[in-house]
């Protein structure tokens, strides 16, 4: 299957860095903020953000957690395959915290809905925001929109977006796979960011 890169290493790094500065812009020193990565792929972005924020601010000001949503999915018994649970690590209460949920790709919005549901087992946050690296807009099945976006991607249903990480896949890049990607310029498909708002 053909694929086209939407973000390559350098732009990838810049995008993650910009997301960090946007968080700092909105939340100051990040006191009382909790960053929660959604298992399995969102945690890689969340860990990267945590490292970058640490580098920029000099010291750890935020709470960090990882959340598995497997048992809260709404497609249990609707599909033939069964997703395997990953580890949840959330050793603090979310009561009255400002929470930023982090995932790599926002598509139908169903994972985020499950994440919101799973999160409630850990307390009642003061507010919840959503940060994603890739927003496949126009393909939402639920009324869920992100607050921070790395890149918007306009893609059709048969296409697939994968985010690859240095830590697990050898290189930082975002790829669009599927029909209609042959010979396309990446710039025509990945466009705009939340910084344009």
């Amino acid at each position: 299957m053909s694929s086209v890169p939407l973000l390559t290493s350098k732009a990838f790094g810049l995008t993650v860095e910009r997301l960090c500065y946007q968080l700092i812009e909105d939340h100051g020193k990040l006191e009382g903020l909790a960053i929660i990565g959604l298992q399995p792929r969102g945690i890689l972005l969340a860990r990267r953000l945590r490292g970058e924020l640490h580098r920029i601010l000099g010291k750890e000001q935020l709470q960090y957690g990882e959340l598995d949503i497997t048992f809260h999915r709404d497609d249990f018994r609707h599909r033939t395959s069964l997703p395997q649970p990953s580890a949840t690590q959330l050793d603090f209460s979310l009561d009255d915290r400002k929470v930023v949920l982090v995932d790599d790709v926002l598509y139908t919005g169903r994972t985020i809905r499950a994440g919101l549901d799973a999160m409630l087992a850990f307390g009642r946050p003061a507010s919840v925001q959503l940060l994603v690296l890739i927003d496949r807009r126009f393909s939402r099945e639920l009324p869920i929109q992100p607050d921070y976006v790395g890149r918007w991607v306009d893609s059709i249903g048969d296409q697939r977006v994968t985010v690859q990480w240095k830590e697990t896949d050898g290189a930082d890049q975002v790829l669009l796979h599927g029909p209609g990607t042959e010979g396309r310029e990446p710039s025509s498909m990945a466009q705009g960011t939340s910084a344009d708002r």
Binding site: P40, R41, D68, T70, F71, H72, F76, R77, H78, T80, S81, L82, P83, Q84, P85, S86, A87, T88, S93, D104, V105, Y107, D117, A118, L120, A121, F122, G123, R160, V161, T162, V163, T168
Partner: protein, 321 residues
Amino acid sequence: MNTTAQSEQLSVEHLLGIKELSAADIELIFRTADGFKEVLNRPIKKVPSLRDLTIANLFFESSTRTRVSFELAEKRLSADVVNFSSSGSSVSKGETLVDTVNNILAMKVDMVVMRHPDPGAAVFLSRHVNARIVNAGDGTHEHPTQALLDAYSIREKLGKVKGVKVLIVGDILHSRVALSNIFCLQKLGAEVMLCGPQTLMPRYIDTLGVRVEPDLDKALKWCDVANMLRIQLERQGGDGVANFPSLREYAMRFGLDLERYKRIGKEIVIMHPGPINRGVEVTSQVADHANSIILDQVENGVAIRMAVLYLLAARIPRTAV
């Protein structure tokens, strides 16, 4: 995108015994139980996975731990639960097992958890009624969830099951826990040795590939884990002949007290499926010893049963409303 998530299913539709499971099934149950164990440590210990299913717990034989454990597992998966015990029911009026269960299923029940005094009751039921069956102990045959939680507890304590030497002590003849444990541990690559009075050792048990050692002290020196089975007082002497002279004599030869434990000369893990006859199979000092994982077994039981119910439920086709 969840490209790394593995997609697997159990190879069986019912959990009737460990004998029918593959090693991959058992590993899948353990991995799923890891997820549920974490859920059980959350402030809110409940997930919505089974909210559209109804489970009937049919207990034709007394039980405390297994019954409470299954009920908690079902409730924490958000299933609707009905409980039934044979005392005070129509079973005492002469209704057959299939009729009893079909009447309960007519009220739209999806899964049945059953304990029954007759070996093979779960297999029989699975052939005659249209529901998923979980065997919670059938006579002297199998008790699969107990074996799963035992092996899971060993894996948690020692980090592995493969290659671990497990000793099972006591009433092997009447024990469904022993049989399920032998199957489960062997499938996972552990070595199994049995120890107990000759009268409570089934004939030809060595054909299962286990070693039999009549001397408890020698057996204890061999093992890494000792699973001290309960003497099933309610099943003794069914043929009019006692299997051992007295509980006191049993305790002296096959019971584990602190003095005997110290004589082993190494640290071994102590297990017991409960309920304990304190002073018979183990003394209080051993049961409450730092190397005893008896209460961890109970805790893990809920996570294991959640995993089993969840994985079996995943194979129930959704019917159009």
